[in-house]
Symmetry: C2
Subunit: 395 residues, 2 copies
């Protein structure tokens, strides 16, 4: 018999992953080209060529024992130094290698930092809509998730409600910008106000509240948008990064945490993250990919590809009568469902072999997430069906 | 402030990892060639050339989007099929791809399966001496670790005591053969008796007790030794495997779990392991390495290298007056400390820049672990110092 908790998880499943599996099944039945799978954030842009070049060169020139061997649990020192330098150059921070902990993707990093910080019963605040996996990550360490309801006007965090929800038990606040599922970038104004509230509350309660900035989508922004680097606005900030989207390497599981010196107890957190990486069974981020990253710090996948998808999909859906705010980053559209029960809408879409994720997976029912990290052709072919759907729901 | 638990962990540290860091520091001071670091199981044999060939070919011929992208959390289906076939061929099992879950090394696999199985308070039995990290893995899921004291005659499990320690709360038994830290291979007789006891106890309590066979050292055996494949002796067996040692890829974090159909509730366990892989933040085993494994199923690092080390070190230490049973597998010698407080002996060894791990890290004080996955020259150069040490302790 499996554990009670896991039984529940298996039964409820992850809507997103369940759909991924469903999509694979559908593809077997009607052919892959006839399934319009907008359900998963699986990049559809090839990794930049620097990645392949790096792998080929590293494997042929670096010492295989070093390349495939153990290193410190926090990662190769030279890789961490190089990442710190690169962040310093881009964001005028003052990091050194020791502030970087290499992780098994952003998901691994979040687990490492939550394991490090949370005592059972301590509270973690998130802003709806949010990446549903946070529920599990917080639950893994017996934290208590507190959800700030969505502000469906702008999808910026509702800071008034947030302020009321911070308590003496609040240990962590997680933000994710550019946001999954909305594509919204939290503005500098939002971040400044949030920092102010956090400082005030820290003082009021005599506690440290850590702001975890989960930013796998940092590089995926469109136009002139700037994504603020949060360590510069609030001392107790920890950044979680991943190369899954920026280099199209989601399967490789490579990312890092930034734990700056300014954060309270930063030494202990760094030591703790090193230990957590080990005892959670990650041991270290995959070694070859660490070495690849060092050589690809300035590489970036072709964002214009996603931008083209974004423009086309956004305009098409608007034309069809759907409503949705235009995303500034990531590769998701968060569209208002034409019926309150958005699952009804998602089910209807399946008739056309369109797979989209209900907003309730992100604690924001009444909306659906459409991931446009697919081929342009997929969107082109799906568009008539979206229009059919719109008609069906009276738009 | 970090969590209370993590604070304790950081303070106590891992003796093994602490020594690894200490060794690096020592190397900076006296030069790497003058440090005899026997503390860590970091393979010193190059990966077989098939690994490099596979990486080069895969990167140049396989679709990069598939190669670096997401797949099912349990891994690529074709890779899992290939592994199942390979195990079937070697051990006459009847596995299919769905019985295999790809993991981030054996450490990742153990965390996944313990997360899947354990309710808080359920008991996990291990046999001293055992890999100290099990303590953390069990604690991560609020399991209760029960340690069967060592049988220092043979270092086979003490099954009489074991039988008395199985209770209605026993959910898991972990065995590790070839064993870290002793190098002992559990005999077929041991396994048969253990299976008998487990069956009897399952019946007595009306429970399922899962035997987890943690076998990263399966391929590292010397002479004609056979390592029994445990699923054939006991239905409720789950195997955890890693390529860290067999292909010298510890930094790459690649391994798998075998969850056979014969295991009670195997479907639920497979589903649970899939979910646990996701929600613990692994998401999936590193994708490129999964594809490499598929092409390297028959490859193996050069075991004769370790054997030469084993023979030389074993004979040398015996000659110096130390006592130790001759290991049949893995790359460790478990040597009786010449003083009861083996930490005193380990400290004395540091004077000669010899790093070895106290047996208390493996719940077996009075012994020390010497990892001989080092260069032959390291052992040659260290031997005179071992002899000095022996004299110092009156051997």
């Amino acid at each position: 018999m499996i554990s009670e908790k896991m039984k529940e998880y298996v039964e409820n499943g992850s809507a997103i992953r369940a759909m991924f599996e469903e999509g694979k099944q559908m593809a077997k039945e009607v052919g892959e080209e006839n399934v319009y799978d907008f359900s998963l954030g699986n990049p559809n842009v090839e990794p930049p060529e620097e990645v392949q070049e790096a792998i080929l060169d590293i494997v042929q020139t670096e010492d295989p024992m070093m390349l495939h061997g153990y290193m410190s649990n926090s990662g190769y020192e030279d890789v961490r130094e190089a990442i710190a330098d690169s962040i310093n150059k881009r964001f005028e921070t003052k990091l050194s290698g020791k502030n970087i902990v290499m992780t098994v993707g952003a998901a691994g990093g979040l687990n490492v930092i939550l394991k490090t910080l949370l005592n059972p019963g301590e509270e973690v605040i998130v802003f709806a809509p949010f990446f549903g996996e946070y529920r599990f990550y917080v639950n893994n360490y017996d934290g208590v998730l507190k959800i700030v309801p969505p502000n469906t006007e702008t999808f910026q965090p509702d800071l008034e409600t947030f302020e009321k929800m911070v308590t003496s038990k609040t240990k962590v606040v997680i933000v994710n910008s550019p946001n999954n599922p909305t594509g919204v970038v939290y503005s500098e104004e939002t971040i400044k106000k949030m920092a102010e509230i956090l400082r005030k509350k820290q003082k009021e309660y005599g506690t440290d509240i850590y702001l975890i900035s989960d930013e796998p989508y940092r590089e995926l922004v469109y136009g002139e948008i700037e994504v603020p680097y949060l360590t510069k606005y609030y001392e107790n900030t920890i950044v979680g990064y991943s190369y899954s989207k920026s280099l199209s390497l989601p399967g490789e599981r490579i990312g890092y945490l930034v734990i700056p010196d300014e954060a309270a107890d930063s030494e202990a957190i760094l030591d703790g993250a090193n230990v957590a990486t080990r005892i959670l069974g990650f041991v270290n981020a995959p070694s070859l990919q660490q070495r690849v990253i060092k050589r690809c710090l300035d590489a970036k996948c072709d964002v214009s590809y996603y931008n083209r998808n974004r423009e086309f999909l956004y305009e098409g859906l608007k034309e069809a009568g759907f409503s949705c705010i235009k995303p500034e980053g990531a590769f998701y559209l968060f569209v208002k469902s034409p019926v309150e029960e958005e699952k009804v809408f998602c089910e209807a879409a399946k008739k056309y072999h369109i797979l989209i994720v209900p907003g309730s997976s992100f604690a924001c029912p009444g909306y659906v997430r459409i991931a446009y990290c697919v081929s342009y052709e997929t969107i082109q072919k799906a568009m008539p069906y979206f229009k059919e759907l719109a008609k069906e729901f009276g738009l």
